[in-house]
């Protein structure tokens, strides 16, 4: 600014009217001139897995605005506040722009050649010294499916390690494992349309109003539904409910089993469906015998009448829908709880029909993609490691010898970290995730990372708490800068497009993977002829043909035309993409006998019970303005303005007992650590004895105090229900 300009501004001659001017834009209508765009690029939102269609407005090589795609079947033009401000993530200050290598303790800028060379050579060196399995890879749910597919092949077939998992294990692993056990395959069976068509909707541990707000419109549009919300915290979603179930933490499994008992013992179940499409009914029946209303009431804290009423409502519904998220998954009983939900849906025949489904509402924009293509907990295309036929099929598709296909999954995410602690994993490649904020009981992770010979972090942002620890940082393109596909919660594949180029020397993850493959010498073998994501997608279509997640009828062009297509969509498909699609409509499941399995499940108390030293139960969760560890949203000023810092919710009863008042700064302490100086919110939203802390904020990192307890089946962490105490922060710091 020149002195003259400054004077003009300060004196008031210039009131900034040029900057703050409006005009007509052919797409946006009358709006701020700064938002007017030269061209619009269709894409899909890169935050959660609702999968909203977006349009990115580009001018002068910058994304100046975004809007919901009015024609996208998921959101019809609407977006949540994160989506509405997503373009600011692209121009955020802390984007990773150049490859950095730690030299003499300092991250130093290097060229891409050196970066890829270092990665390959040093990974190979570690593998030569400690064995191929000493290399671990932790990826994400944020990449495009094409990248997940490429990464899976690169890791498992190129580097030859099976210790590869995604941060999706921190979030949806219980659902994945639960689906596999019940139905023989992963894959949420329902469609969003079910929310509009169901008679009874039961949401368990799912705060959609906060976390998937665009789905709420569908709940609202369903005028005849009875919405039941089970959550220990009176969330925004709970307040929308027709019937709210303020159950005790982690008592959901007992509630569902009690509902099952009522449904079975009072003869409300679908005998024909059970007979024809399931196995294990007798065992299930026996297993729920102990879940009398009285027993469940004792565990859940709900009245027997209420539990009975809910069971009858669900049992008598023509179409009943159960949605769940982290309240169920973040638990050592997560998989079993998912199975119990599936049991309930199966015995009442509430699956595969309009309005009737058990339905996990996924977290990340493409967690589904990594589950389909991932090569971590299963082989690509929902194939099983243990199935010889599946492995043969893949070997054939890839023209590889049969014995190159791995026969069992490697370590899951928490076990990779454990292996780093015990020095079995010596090198780690972390892609698009920020475990320093997101992994439970963070000190264990820090210990593990400190043990490594080499930590490579590939991310769109730097610095993040994780990139700061990296030995090698690879700067990656993010949403808005690359092409591919995302799959949302209802298995809808949508197109993601590049609107602008990545900043500095950042490259798409796809390019990075291919460059690594090139250096590794496996590009020809694994990625022959691949130059852009569409090449991967074409192969992916062939790999999924005939599978449950059949993409063979989906092309980029069709995605552009329809804005999103639900799989399975085989090339032989007879219906149009517009028709809502569900899995298992024919009652045929992905098990060997084609029948769904009814699996007995048993409730158990959560692992860390409160006791006099740590008398409160900690619950964690989100706020609508932020995404995960805030690498993306923390730099967006409007979101920061609306949600600037963490807070701790505590009931007035506990606050009085502790002599605490609203806005006091408090420390939250568990046996693992301490979260310091969180602002107290005294509220009736949480029950006495429970507190709630959002997990987004590194400054008040909830994972300082969460526990290392994992679901034995899915390996998902039990983030919730830690025993803690709260103290007023010492005034020295305030």
């Amino acid at each position: 600014m020149t002195l003259l300009q400054w004077l003009k501004l300060k004196s008031g001659v210039d009131n900034g009217s040029a900057k703050y001017s409006y005009g007509d834009d052919p797409v946006l209508g009358f709006t701020s001139n700064r938002k007017h765009s030269e061209r619009w690029v269709n894409s899909t939102c890169g935050y959660c897995s609702v999968g909203c269609g977006m349009q990115l407005g580009v001018r002068d090589g910058k994304v100046v605005t975004v809007r919901g795609n009015p024609d996208h079947p998921v959101n019809l033009g609407k977006l949540c506040p994160k989506g509405l401000a997503e373009h600011y993530a692209i121009d955020a200050e802390d984007r990773a722009k150049y490859p950095l290598l730690r030299k003499d303790g300092q991250l130093t800028r290097i060229g891409w050649n050196e970066a890829i060379d270092t990665l390959v050579k040093r990974f190979r060196k570690v593998q030569e010294k400690y064995g191929p399995e000493s290399l671990g890879i932790i990826s994400t749910g944020q990449l495009v499916t094409e990248e997940f597919y490429a990464l899976g092949k690169l890791v498992q077939l190129g580097f030859g390690t099976s210790n590869y998992d995604g941060n999706t294990t921190l979030c949806m692993a219980a659902a994945v494992a639960g689906y596999k056990r019940s139905f023989g395959s992963d894959g949420p069976p329902g469609a969003y349309e079910d929310l509009e068509k169901a008679d009874v909707i039961l949401l368990i541990g799912a705060n959609v109003a906060e976390n998937h707000p665009i789905l709420c419109a569908r709940l609202e549009a369903n005028a005849t539904r009875t919405l039941i919300v089970a959550d220990p915290r009176v969330t925004k979603t709970a307040m929308m409910a027709d019937i709210y179930l303020p159950l005790k933490p982690r008592s959901d499994l007992a509630l569902i089993n009690a509902m099952l008992r009522v449904v079975i013992y009072e003869d409300l179940y679908d005998k024909e469906y059970v007979e024809r499409h399931t196995t294990g009914f007798a065992e299930l029946r026996a297993s729920v015998e102990r879940y009398t209303l009285e027993y469940a009431s004792e565990i859940t804290g709900l009245s027997t009448d209420l539990i009975h009423e809910i069971a009858l409502l669900y049992g008598n519904a023509k179409t009943a829908f159960i949605g769940w998220t982290m309240g169920v998954n973040h638990s050592t009983k997560g998989t079993e709880t998912v199975n119990a939900i599936n049991n309930l849906a199966l015995v009442t025949g509430n699956i595969g029909r309009t309005g009737a489904s058990p339905f996990s509402i996924t977290g990340q924009c493409n967690a589904m993609g990594t589950r389909e293509a991932g090569f971590s907990s299963g082989l690509p295309g929902y194939r099983k490691f243990e199935s010889e036929k599946d492995r043969e099929e893949l070997a054939g598709l890839w023209n590889l010898p049969f014995d190159r296909i791995p026969t069992k999954r490697g370590l899951a995410y928490p076990d990779i970290i454990e292996a780093a602690v015990s020095k079995k994993i010596r090198a780690l490649w972390i892609i698009g995730t920020n475990p320093l904020v997101s992994f439970p009981n963070i000190d264990v992770l820090k210990h593990g990372l400190a043990n490594l010979d080499l930590l490579v972090v590939q991310d769109g942002f730097h610095p993040t708490p994780t990139t700061e620890l990296a030995d090698l940082l690879l700067p990656a393109a993010i949403w808005g800068e690359k092409e591919g596909t995302y799959t949302n919660s209802e298995r809808r594949v949508s197109k993601v497009n590049a609107a602008v180029s990545p900043p500095g020397e950042a490259r798409s993850d796809f390019d990075i993977f291919l460059a690594v493959a090139e250096k590794l010498g496996c590009r020809e073998e694994l990625f022959a002829g691949w130059t852009s994501p569409v090449d991967a997608f074409d192969e992916w279509r062939r790999v999924t043909a005939g599978r449950l997640c059949d993409y063979s009828g989906i092309t980029y062009a069709a995605l552009e035309e329809h804005g999103g297509i639900q799989w399975p969509f085989p090339d032989s498909v007879s219906t149009t993409p517009e028709v809502a699609r569900r899995l298992y409509s024919d009652g045929q499941f992905q098990t060997e006998d084609g029948r769904a399995r009814l699996l007995p499940t048993q409730w158990a108390p959560f692992p860390e019970q409160p006791h006099p030293e740590f008398p409160l139960i900690l619950n964690t969760g989100r706020t609508v303005e932020h995404w995960h560890t805030r690498t993306k949203t923390g730099g967006i000023s409007i979101l920061q303005r609306m949600s600037p810092r963490a807070w701790l919710e505590m009931n007035s009863v506990d606050a009085r007992k502790l002599g605490l008042r609203a806005h006091d700064r408090v420390d939250v302490i568990s046996a693992r650590g301490r979260v310091k100086e969180v602002e107290l919110r005294v509220t009736e939203i949480v029950a006495p004895g429970q507190i709630f802390l959002p997990f987004h904020f590194v400054e008040s990192n909830a994972n300082q105090i969460t526990q290392s307890a994992f679901d034995p089946i899915s390996r998902e962490p039990n983030y919730k229900q830690c025993a803690v105490r709260v103290e007023k922060s010492s005034p020295v710091h305030t």
Binding site: Y20, G29, N69, P213, C216, A221, E625, R681
Partner: protein, 513 residues
Amino acid sequence: MELPLLERAQVGDDAFYLSTAAGTADGVQASFCGLASTIALPPPPGPGEQYRFHFDMTKCIGCKCCVVACNEQNGNPADILWRRVGEIEGGTYPDTLRHYLSMGCNHCLEPTCMTGCPVDAYSKDGATGIVRHSADICIGCQYCTWNCSYGVPQYNPERGVVGKCDMCYGRLTQGQHPACVSACPEGAIRIETVKTLQWREAYRVDANSPGMPSAEDSLSTTRITLPARTPRDIRKVDLDRLRPEHPHWPLVVMTVLTQLSVGAFTSIWLLELFGAHAHRGAALIALLTAMVALCASTLHLGRPIHAARALKMWRRSWLSREVLLFTLFAIAAAGYSAALWRQFPASPLLGGLTVLFGLCGVGASARLYLVVGRPTWNSPFTILEFYLTAVLLGSGCANILSGSSATGRWGIFASGVATVIVAAVKLWSLARSAVHERRSSYSLLHTVLLNQLQSRLLLLCAGVLISGIAHAGWATALGILLLCCGELMGRYLFFVSVVPTNMATDYLSVEAA
């Protein structure tokens, strides 16, 4: 059958559709949910009607899409929110409810932002009833930000002017929904037309809500649909937060110095009348003080170069009247000073005029702070405090000019005691007030601002004491210096300890002070 829908699309969200993607006639949209709603805009208001917002609290889930969409629409920085979402909460676990308020401007029937504006930057649009603000006319005095009991107008320091929600006037008049309406996934915000005459009665029920200031002040036109059942104790979630307001330093200086100057001229005039002393030098200093005060006041403006515009609305705005009266005071004071120098016989007359304008100016100055949106200011204490400052500092001047006469000292003592009493009674009444904002002012003063309050009283007492005991020239000078400092501190507290009425905000919100 298709026609009405087509028409709706054209008057409705039409401009939000990409022309290239128009081919969605295959029935997809019809099968979908509330997201697809293309609720038409109501027809333009007829005679006796205006546009208004309808906010449906039962639909709002507090997602704040409207807030982001508003800022995108208007290109505002993040610390300026023309649409805000606040929270109210009540009940006992688990029978508890939290509701949200999403509010832009209420486009009131009697907009207080407009009636207070000294430069006529606001207008109520004849055709739509929208309260519009002109950034070109605005001088950035921010008086509207005090006048609006909802805290709607917000000052943009980058521009030096205020801005606010204009219901997306430019969109509405082209048949496009406002940005907030378009963005809301729940359909909680709508535009309606309202018959203004009927609304003058109906607003009592339909414009009021928990978490909102009374619609009485300005007759808000926003219709709020409340849930059928709300907890009896539902209240703003931000009630316990204590945050001092902006001190407005130029105004601290300006008000105290004008009062000092008025007090000084009053002393000079009285001494001329009754003591037959022409204090020419003192008059010059007092005149200089007035000039400094007036210059300081322009520093408060976002656009000081247009300060003269503030005279315009003297028929309506107390701020204009203050500016006008102090301008006349300054002119009269200059004339009076000149007369004293030149020993014009008519100087007492000019002096009288100076004092008259000055005292009226102090009155106008105090009166302009009596706004409904600032309950702590909106009391006779404000008038008392402003005049007491003039009397106290005037007595201090008289004390110097009369060589520490008994009258001067007595004046300081009496006005000093009065100041302490007023301060004590004011604190007492704030602490016991039924009005939340007043009680919060008290809480601020006895916690966050306690040190400042104590030093204010200490300075006052020290000033009174020194002026009372010591007779030397330096002591009287020191006395008035201490008194001035005490008054400046007092005025600072006046500005920072006020708690505005406002709509509920969110729990952690950082409102621009």
